[in-house]
């Protein structure tokens, strides 16, 4: 039998003998990234992406897809192509400027125990 894994979620799916898919982009609505503010006082957080024909539809789709149970009070959508990102690996030289500046952290400074509220 072909190898199947229970990790298909709603049931076993084959992991061999199926094409993985190509990244060749077919004609489709653009991809939007979605950010949701969970409640007042919190930042918007990235929750996933969706496809929509335009900004307004992206916002509506985001509401239906990512906030069906009051998960948010505010939504941002932005076309994925408009995002500029660093490489996510924290060892990347991009983040080197902050790596050697330990003095930016409060724990860098030694304060005697008898000084209160600090």
């Amino acid at each position: 039998m072909t190898e199947l894994t229970a990790e298909g979620g709603h049931g076993a799916v084959p992991l061999e003998g199926v094409p993985a898919g190509s990244s060749q982009v077919k004609h489709d609505w653009p991809l939007y990234e979605v950010f949701v503010r969970g409640k007042r006082g919190l930042n918007h957080v990235h929750v996933g992406s969706l496809h929509a024909a335009d900004d307004e539809m992206a916002l509506h789709n985001a509401r239906d897809l990512y906030t069906r149970r009051n998960e948010g009070v505010s939504i941002w959508v932005v076309k994925a192509t408009d995002i500029t990102a660093s490489s996510p690996d924290e060892k990347d030289p991009f983040f080197a400027p902050s790596g050697d500046k330990v003095y930016r952290h409060p724990t860098f400074y030694e304060i005697p125990d008898n000084v209160p509220h600090m």
Binding site: L4, H10, V13, D28, G48, L50, R69, S87
Partner: protein, 313 residues
């Protein structure tokens, strides 16, 4: 930024996994990992999407407004699950339209459980209880999958699955308090769905040679047989509380193993369904294809409208 040599990247990848940290979209990945993840996530997504059909069949015939509203919300959730997962697959470089094409052309698969028909309204309850219950067993370990976007999608999905299972079980409890005919209907649905639910966990471990690689990559946390055993052990007391019998004369508690023993699974039936010979295979794909094709003009019209608006701005 400097280009790092491939052996270093591979070591970094393995190190990230060893430390139980997540792999994120723009990380370097071995091609085998990328392909395995796309296959797994895409076919999981397809299962959610096709999974709307068996229950969707009963939306217009739900016996009360309450049951109809619940069923609509449940089926809508399954659509949502599919979309979270397609979104995760896209972070690996897959293209959504291409994945849809691979589903409706039959080149990628979906879970065989959705190729069985839903004959009575009791099936809606049993699907929630057993099919979503089995899905929960499969999906909870996936919340710790090494691939970040997949793990995050699974956390969201698992929260919603709990509603699915509970609404199903509550529906069945209600029917069991009803007439003799209703109780018989529940038992009949349990008889039909029990074995296919056990098949959801896939073939026995002895027939799954690549499990080791998936375990090493932490995309798989438990073997098919482990998950199946867990599901059986969970379901037995639930069946008892409901007052139904699970259709397996060999099902009984094994004191020594501290698990239930259960009878042999008919893998021939499973293989037939995989081959496309299940009761509803053709119907499910035909329905998905029709929905996709019937929607083509809407997608085109919306794209044309967006282009026009952009031209005006």
């Amino acid at each position: 930024m400097t280009a790092t040599a491939e052996p270093d990247l591979e070591r970094l990848f393995e190190h990230t996994i060893e430390r139980d940290q997540r792999i994120e979209p723009r990380d370097w990945l071995p091609e085998g990992y990328r392909k395995t993840m796309i296959r797994q996530i895409a076919q999981h997504a397809h299962s959610e999407i096709i999974g709307m059909q068996p229950e969707g069949n009963w939306i217009t015939r739900a016996p009360s407004l309450r049951r109809k509203a619940i069923l609509l919300a449940k089926v809508q959730d399954e659509a949502g699950h599919g979309l979270y997962l397609y979104s995760a697959a896209e972070t690996l470089g897959a293209d959504r339209a291409d994945l849809t094409e691979k589903l409706i052309s039959g080149r990628q698969k979906y879970s065989s459980i959705f190729n069985y028909p839903t004959l009575t309204f009791a099936d809606v309850g049993v699907i929630g209880w057993l099919v979503d219950g089995a899905a929960i067993c499969n999906q909870v370990p996936l919340c710790r999958s090494s691939y970040g976007p997949y793990a995050r999608a699974m956390i969201r999905i698992c929260k919603e699955e709990s509603f699915h299972q509970r609404q199903g079980y509550e529906l069945l409890m209600t029917m069991m308090r009803g007439t003799e005919a209703q109780r018989a209907m529940v038992q009949d649905a349990v008889n039909r769905w029990w074995w296919p639910s056990l098949m959801m966990f896939g073939p026995p471990d002895a027939e799954s040679p690549n499990t080791a690689q998936s375990m090493a990559w932490k995309v798989k946390r438990h073997t098919n047989d482990e998950l199946r055993q867990r599901f059986v052990d969970m379901s037995v007391p639930q069946a008892k509380a409901l007052g139904v019998t699970l259709p397996d004369p060999e099902l009984k508690w094994n004191e020594e193993r501290q698990h239930h023993n259960f009878g042999p699974i008919d893998w021939d039936e499973f293989k037939q369904i995989l081959k496309g010979n299940g009761p509803c295979n053709a119907q499910r794909i035909a329905h998905r294809r029709k929905a996709h094709e019937d929607g083509a003009w809407v997608r085109e019209a919306a794209a044309a409208y967006a282009a026009k608006q952009e031209g005006r701005a």
